[in-house]
Amino acid sequence: MSAVTADEGERQETANTRRAGRALIVAIHAATRVMKLYPPEHQAVQKSLDELALAAVDSRGVDAELEVRVHGEFIFVNGTRLRLDLSNYASFGRVLELFRAAGVGVLRVLREATSREWFSLLTLVTTVGANSDADPDELARRLQAAGVDVFETSADAEAEEDVEEREAAKAAARRTYAQSVALTKDVINSVRMGRVPSARKIKRAVQTIVDQVLTEEASLIGLTTLREYDEYTYTHSVNVCIFAVALGKRIGMTKLQLYELGVGALMHDIGKSRVPTDLLQKTTPLDEDDWRRITAHPWLGVLTLFQLRGQQELPYRAMLVAHEHHMRRDFSGYPRVIRPRQIAMTSKIVAVADAYDAATSRRSYQTKPYPPSAVLQEMRDNPRRGLDPVVVKAFITLLGIYPSGTLVVLDTFELAVVLAANPNPDMLSRPRVVIVSDGRGNLLQPPIESDLAATGPDGQFARTIIKTADPERYGIRVSDYVV
């Protein structure tokens, strides 16, 4: 019994560390924001610093030590990874950005720090971070010079490990992606041939995608830039699944909810397996009858999912997603609705992911994909598309204004491919990119990764996106860079 109690205690301790850690990050963010707006002696600054000092004491109180570590896209407080959700993602993003810009990987608070000491630290972090060529030791030197010895800072000790980890994550993502595409192909072809696909395989594929998104979503999202014409039917389902699960994670769904959402997303077009292939691949305009047969795929999806055996429980959520993913908010989409219904949130999420991936892909009747940023803009601005505006907004916070795989022209006339959205929500238009050609059009070998949020010595951004571009025009295959 005592062991049980001790273990419960441990769990409670972790929860306390997380709670205190989140409060600390929010307090750091609040203090830096107020410090930007008001002079140091202003009451609001004092108040926010006092709150920060208290939050730090609280964190120390839980663990008798305080270490904040920035690692990849995550923040760890005393070794516990803080969980990101909608209520704190803005603070997390900004603090990540702040620390990263100043080259801070680890911040240790050696004893109880006063409000004044926190003020010094945040001022120096901001100043050092403003210099894009900041030396990781610069902050430590300046702290020492200022006589502030309560903090110890260092670059991320695991930077090298990071690279390895990132590579491993990318490899895992590639494996997951390939397996999922293969599985989808298998499922769709099984249905075409009148066989019953394996529910276990579907489960396994979605579970792997969920695991991958939960641990390192960026790599998997990057893979969605693989938009092969020949494999469209299959890659599209996998891409929609990845986008939907990532968006679900962003809006706070639990692991098991993500799983159900993922199954729905992966199977959303299963009804197409009962639409003739030549019709799906038709490149000429669709006549009325063609259109009628294509728009049958949502309800055909429901019928198909009813035929899936080997399920302990019928996949009701997947059926709803299949049925509703082309319904508009006013039900003007298809299929026609007779009985009153409320479109499920999971269907709305899949509808957004589906619309985005379809428009940005090359398909039989869409030889030229639309630029991702334009697609997002259209989804945001055109209510006739019938997408849920809040879900679209959340989707844009996930992908950034320039989503992964977008080819952009920088103000230096360099061409760059967007790798990932900036985690700082203030910097959604300044993603992490890979510069693929210089200003004269020479392809760079190897290409150079760059964070467009980085500023030069003058405090100005070193590079800025001026427009998006058509990769085909330049003969660039974006997936070569992202994947």
């Binding site: 396994r204 959520r317 058509d470 660039i476």
Partner: protein, 569 residues
């Protein structure tokens, strides 16, 4: 958890580590718990005892270490490559094989596993063992458990189709060469939607556009909560029926009919009453609205309600419900029953009278009342049921409904040999009170059973059924009644007085006060009954007779007359 290669085999350690025996014991307890999970229901003490045993063994293990990592082979669990648990005698049922066959090659159990994870772990093993189709595996089941203190490494099983396809997509690496300089290009590609520009706009830089407001965050969270808390089945049923109505292709409708038939069984077996009721109602709506509907499809959908109302189907459901603790919303059950057709009434009534489940009985009571009110013919037919309890219940309800249609069935019952049944029929007839019912009741006055005669006479009086006066008069004059009990005498005399009014006084007075030498003197009890009846009449003539009897020599008569005069009759 992750896919991984098998752990190394053939380790060098041979001596038995003291920890090994503790782990061994823990695994044995765990295996016992697995079997108990399989053999006993959760409310069985053996079930709880086995889990407690496994918990205790785990706690004992945590006194030695905080975590253990075990390898899995086809026949054994190993610790540091030494076999510490084998179930070779159990063949395909063995625990190591269960892990091994699904690709699990090692697993780690950490302190705390015994709290939240253990029941899930056992549940997952049970789910895999009991599945019929064999399409689940331990890896997918374990994943869904979302363990906190248990992790595992597995190998992908071969032949999953995960290999070649898709891999060709993953060509990578940056190409080299020269591309057009963006500075030299002018034309822009077409854009998605009207008005979009490839040039970055100031508005696009305004990230605040993309901040989710608090109410937007709340909306998302609330929607997710509702999405995952709600029952999806009605929406799925609605999707099927919408498709049925909008798609006129007979093959599609044929397929949907088949799906709906199976779906209803799935719903019933899952005790999803509300959705079943919804399905039945909406099937009726669909058949009434759908265009170009083939008669065969109309019939198949119509058959759905017949199938669920069929006594054989319904009895199965009721038997399950009898042994189940009903979950809210229980009213769903009433909704379902009242959607059924008349064939359902018999099994429902039959179960209602037998049920020992108070919750279910209350629901059946309500359902039967509602169903009976719209299916009186079926209810009447139940009056003649061979099952006495059903017949009694049907008569009770026929009485409650005061349905004249029941009279003919009740009249038939009066010919039965069972006093209980005939008594119930009389009560029902009395409640109905129609002229037809009263005529049948009149026959009850001659019944051989006293209780039935009493009930009949009381009913005639209550309903002021005057055609019976002469019969009552005969009965009063008849020695059979006079020889009966005082209760029966009182009932007949009272009824006679109530129905005949003052015209009853001569007969009653003649019984109370015999006149003339040759007049027969009735027994005191009969005279007392006459006194009481006169008292109830209360007319001057009646009171005169009572005053005369107030000084009678018989104390019983005297006392009855005095009481009647005081109005105490």
């Amino acid at each position: 958890m992750s896919p991984n290669s098998a752990p190394p085999h053939g380790g060098s350690r041979t001596a038995v580590d003291p920890l090994d025996s503790v782990i061994s014991e823990m695994l044995r307890s765990l295996a016992r718990a697995v079997r108990s999970f399989q053999l006993y229901l959760p409310n069985n003490p053996m079930h709880a005892r086995a889990i407690d045993g496994a918990r205790a063994a785990l706690v004992a293990l945590w006194a030695k270490t905080d975590q253990i990592e075990l390898g899995v082979t086809e026949t054994d669990f190993t610790h540091e490559d030494v076999s510490i648990f084998a179930e070779s005698d159990r063949g395909g049922e063995s625990l190591p094989w269960l892990f091994y066959k699904d690709g699990i090659r090692s697993f780690e159990i950490r302190k705390g596993f015994e709290l939240r994870d253990l029941p899930r772990f056992l549940g997952a093993l049970q789910a895999v063992r009991t599945q019929a189709g064999g399409d689940e595996d331990l890896v997918t089941q374990f994943w869904e458990c979302d363990f906190e203190c248990f992790s595992y490494k597995y190998e992908e099983a071969g032949g999953d189709g995960y290999t070649a396809p898709g891999a060709e997509l993953l060509r990578g690496g940056a190409p080299s060469g020269v591309v057009d300089s963006p500075a030299d290009t002018e034309a822009d590609v077409g854009t998605y939607g009207a008005g979009a520009s490839q040039f970055a706009r100031i508005a696009d830089f305004d990230s605040t556009l993309y901040f989710l407001e608090q109410e937007e965050i709340s909306y998302l969270h609330q929607s997710i909560r509702e999405d995952f808390a709600g029952d999806l089945r009605p929406s799925v049923a609605a999707a099927l029926l919408d498709t049925f109505e909008t798609q006129t292709d007979p093959t599609v409708r044929e397929e949907i009919c088949g799906i709906l038939e199976n779906f209803m069984l799935v719903l019933l077996s899952g005790l999803q009453f509300r959705t079943t009721a919804f399905l039945i109602r909406e099937c009726a709506a669909a058949t009434s609205r759908a265009e170009n509907l083939l008669p065969s499809h109309r019939q198949r959908l119509g058959e759905l309600v017949n199938r669920v109302s069929d006594p054989a189907t319904l009895n199965q459901l009721l038997d399950v419900l009898e042994d189940t603790r009903l979950k809210p919303p229980q009213q769903d059950l009433v909704t379902l029953f009242t959607r059924m057709n008349s064939a359902a009434l018999q099994p429902l009534v039959s179960h209602l009278v037998r049920s020992r489940n108070a919750e279910l009985r209350a629901l059946l009571e309500e359902a039967v009342t509602r169903l009976a009110s719209s299916n009186t013919e079926e209810l009447m037919a139940l009056i003649g049921s061979d099952e006495e309890a059903v017949s009694l219940e049907a008569m009770r309800r026929a009485g409650d409904l005061q349905s004249p249609a029941a009279v003919v069935h009740l009249a038939r019952v009066l010919e039965s040999t069972s006093d209980t049944t005939r008594s119930a029929a009389i009560s029902a007839l009395a409640q109905i009170g129609s002229p037809g019912a009263m005529q049948v009741l009149e026959r009850g006055l001659d019944d051989i059973d006293r209780d039935i005669r009493l009930a009949a006479v009381k009913a005639c009086a209550d309903h002021q059924f005057r055609p019976v006066i002469s019969k009552l008069e005969r009965a009063i004059k008849d020695r059979v009644v006079r020889d009966g009990s005082s209760v029966e005498k009182n009932a007949f005399f009272d009824a006679y007085a109530a129905l005949a009014g003052d015209s009853a006084v001569p007969l009653l007075e003649s019984i109370l006060i015999p006149r003339g030498m040759l007049a027969r003197k009735e027994d005191p009890g009969t005279r007392a009954s006459a006194a009481m009846a006169l008292g109830k009449l209360g007319s001057e003539r009646a009171l005169d007779a009572l005053r005369k009897a107030a000084s009678d020599k018989e104390i019983v008569v005297r006392s009855a007359a005095t009481r009647a005069l005081r109005g105490g009759a």
